[in-house]
Amino acid sequence: MSDTASHPGDTSVLPAGGGSPRPARADAWSLSGPRRKARRVFRPRRTIPGVIVAAVLAAAAILGAIWAVTAALGHPLFKVSHRDFAGPVQSTTHWSSTGPLAGAAAAAFIGLVLILIAVIPGRPRAVTLASGDESVVVGVPRRSLRRSLAWLAEDVPGIDSAKVRARRRSVRVRATTRLRDPAGLSENVRAVVQDRLAALDPLWPLQVKVRLRRKEG
């Protein structure tokens, strides 16, 4: 994963001409440390799987503790009869039986999934913007960016509807028009979206791709 900013033919890096004052990018943002930190802020936190696993573990441990206490007092909550325990289970269930093997495989699989959930960083939920101040991390949630760009594209005269997908390095606009002669329309949409991206000033430049479809009617 290189964070080089220059792609041939990528025009969205340049700020929109003139207009508003904006804080200059601090030099710190060209360093990889602050940039990585900024990206990490918007990584998924894995709170939901963590809380689920914690809840399951807590419930199982509480049940086990209650069971052990009642067993210690001589009245087990769920009685495993001695014959079941020492009879059939003992004589017929071996380490190579289907039950233990399936259980072990399931446990190992769940363990692997949990490790992967914890280790894989996950897709950032926001597009990080350049910031003039090292202590300030700015981001636009991906969903909000998609909606915002789609609204802008729909405001372009001649555009009927637009949908936007934000990828890691590109923004794809799919717009529909009812015009018979949509010459220059996709360039207009591209210009509007690119202007907005330039004003937002994302840390990693986003390429704009526009696909225009004609709708009959």
Partner: protein
Amino acid sequence: MSRHAAHVSRTGLVIIGLILLLAGGAVLARGLNASSSVLGHSDAPLLTHSQATYPTQHGWVWPVVAAVAAVIALLALWWMAAQTSTKTVRRLPLEPDRIQGTTVLRAGAATGAITDELESYPSIRAADATLQGSSRTPDLRLSVTAENRADPATARARIETEALPNLRTALERDTIPTVLRMQFSRAFDRHLT
């Protein structure tokens, strides 16, 4: 930045995942007779008679199991609480000099001031701010909903050059680590154009 909760979640998941993977792998290895010299034979019974009757003959087994289960339950509950708590700062000490006496500011007053200021900008529709982490070096979480047709660069410039410095001055801090989340809405379109 306050990424504490993420570390807590991810570390716990790695630990539980490793335990499950290693235990499952060990049972699987024995069942498939991968290394009978280390783990034992795969056709041996899962429970021998002496293992099955061990708890009934030794009184200490069930209390120990209960204690271990209780410790695990407490750890799991602590883990759950650590993941869900956000650690919002409620009071901020302003004057660190104890001899002069201490001044304490309600965090809600500071965050209220900055959200009021932000919402007074014409292009910003709504703002939300919380201070998190320790009260000595709090982190600011700022969420701003901007009007979609307005220039976001202008709004950002004002936030970074006016609102945040004002808050720093008010809290008497040189830097406040800030995470600013910008969202867009177009509900006010008609009023602006």
